[in-house]
Subunit: 359 residues, 2 copies
């Protein structure tokens, strides 16, 4: 089967490497000069909204998907006129708009943080009267890896925050103290089978994911069940096919859904070695009409992103249970260059391995 | 690091796919029109003894290895003049000659079947006087997948057997009743670290491996230790770097070494999912000077070769814990088209999964 992928980054690279053993071939559409996915298939170098390039992708693919959630929804809709496109294009529309995303969660009974829409400074001030301080002001669109958001602790912070975010529709969210960040990765097949990976604990710094622990240590079973229920609700509501990630906050009052990513997700990379079937293989199984593979964890895993600079490969591989995935990118501050997954049979061994890791 | 590989079959393909995440690039030298490894790197299409092609491989590689043990030893030696070649070329010479192979085992104190060299029919008859009947007559060179051998049960079988084998130096071996066939896969790094995978039980039909069980069920610990000792002895004797496989017979009198393969091996394919680090990754770690990864099994695995015809992919993937690896080959009787590994937490679950597998 020929898989077309919008986006040719590391997620495309790992999708391609996961699909090769199943006999799949890949074409990636990506505007970048150098594209991590190029080692795993052909590349059409063009903007995501180039009609001729989209048509070429459709011609060379049996099924189309994406690995980058800021793909324009109209591009996915154009492809869907002639080809099976999974996940559904409307998942892009929802996930690209923080307000729509929260409204969708809320409509499905999934708890979200208190929030309100705002158009400008006056609207933001009005919103803050109901939301309270501190709060987070975010652009409704184009936010990822911590971009497009500002924390305001006092009314005086509002004007500079809005100036920094630019002239764009906003969402004002209560600043919620949380115990930790979690994510749930789930997959739904064309046959409407659903499988959930164990819930993951995530650690961010400067808005970028640094480390994930899978399964999330000491998670109350009721919370794990709730997270899985939320994922199922979104998958079924959207008649979704493929892998979906939902980021959650664990608070004293339970889980709050923060955002969704309608694609394979950085917090699911551990599944390559740490689960029976990786998120990448399961995404491909789902969109190609194959049965899903088991999502159970094999022992415990820690995934550590390699950001900005590349540590010595030999030192990384010397850590017990270390598996290294490099993305073929030139080092640059803040850039995800690769990741290491440490897999162990228990948490004590995993902690020891993490200590041995030079990251 | 740029890895050059003599041979571009499925073993090269799986080496390439294992090396991509580590940032390695690959060039394969192979005479065939279509080459399973082509998806994982560049291909130089030429015979294994083409000097210009060998020089081109050397130019485009930092380290050279092979995935096919019938590579001419002089080709490996030519490459070794300008590049690091692992395993050592002399491992080819030993493994390509069944007599030399048995003599090497014997010299290291590794038990082998009773055997004698023979040049012709008269010599074979003389050899049979000491070896006894039944016996197996084999060509000394170019034997794999059951080729180049004939069983003789009576003196009258000798002439037709020799006619079938052609005019070539022979080895006459006692026909040993054995309980089962086993193999040991071991790896030695450039730093002289050695790691052994759990011993594997192998099932052949028509001289072709059909199925491997890893770890070999109910293997006496003393036999497992002996197999590992034999592998270490060969690795150290040859100052070997890379993965080595030794096929063994388990008899009432203990283990007998049958043959060695100086490369990644079909009976080690289960390690992709069934061991902490696959034989392919460990071969690459070894030859590139990186530390070895753990070789411990994760649960129990069965590897089933897909031979001749391709079963329905969806049915294969529906078996619990199934992982499918296709080699991109056109189906042909007797041809290895791919393999399935079933991984489970215990033998009962594995047996159930094997029953569900449509192979």
């Amino acid at each position: 089967m020929r898989i077309g992928v919008l986006g040719g980054g590391q997620l495309g690279r790992m999708l391609g490497l996961a699909g090769r053993p199943l006999g799949f071939t890949f074409t990636f559409l990506d505007p970048a000069d150098e594209c991590p996915a190029a080692i795993a298939g052909d590349v059409i170098r063009a903007p995501f909204d180039d009609p001729a390039a989209l048509d070429r992708l459709a011609e060379t693919s049996d099924v189309i998907t994406w690995e980058f959630e800021n793909v324009p929804e109209p591009s996915a809709m154009r492809l869907a006129e002639s080809r099976a496109v999974h996940p559904p294009s409307r998942a892009l529309g929802v996930s690209q708009n923080r307000l729509l995303e929260k409204q969708s969660f809320a409509r499905l009974g999934i708890p979200v943080v208190r929030h309100a829409a705002a158009k400008d400074e006056a609207g933001t001030r009005r919103a803050l009267e109901t939301i309270g301080l501190p709060a987070v002001i975010k652009t409704q669109r184009m936010g990822y890896d911590g971009r497009g958001q500002r924390v305001v602790r006092a009314v005086a912070d509002v004007a500079p925050a809005i100036a920094a975010l630019g002239d764009a529709p906003l969402i004002v969210e209560a600043f919620v103290p949380f115990r930790r960040e979690l994510s749930v990765i789930a997959v739904r097949s064309r046959r409407a089978e659903i499988a959930c990976y164990p819930i993951v604990e995530n650690h961010h710094a400067d808005g970028i994911l640094r480390r994930s622990l899978a399964p999330a240590p000491d998670l109350a079973p009721a919370l794990a069940a709730a997270a899985e229920r939320y994922a199922r609700a979104v998958l079924e509501d959207l008649d979704y096919v493929g892998v979906l990630a939902i980021e959650l906050f664990e608070t004293d009052g339970g889980l709050l859904a923060n955002e969704m990513a309608p694609r394979v997700h950085n917090s699911g990379h551990w599944s390559i070695e740490g689960a029976e079937t990786s998120q990448f293989e399961n995404h491909l199984r789902a969109i190609s009409g194959l049965p899903l593979g088991a999502t159970a964890a094999r022992g415990v895993s820690a995934m550590v992103n390699l950001i900005g600079t590349m540590p010595d490969l030999a030192l990384l591989l010397a850590a017990p249970g270390a598996h290294v995935h490099l993305y073929g990118k030139t080092p640059r501050p803040g850039r995800k260059l690769g990741h290491v997954t440490l897999r162990a049979d228990d948490r004590t061994a995993l902690a020891r391995a993490l200590e041995a890791l030079p990251v």
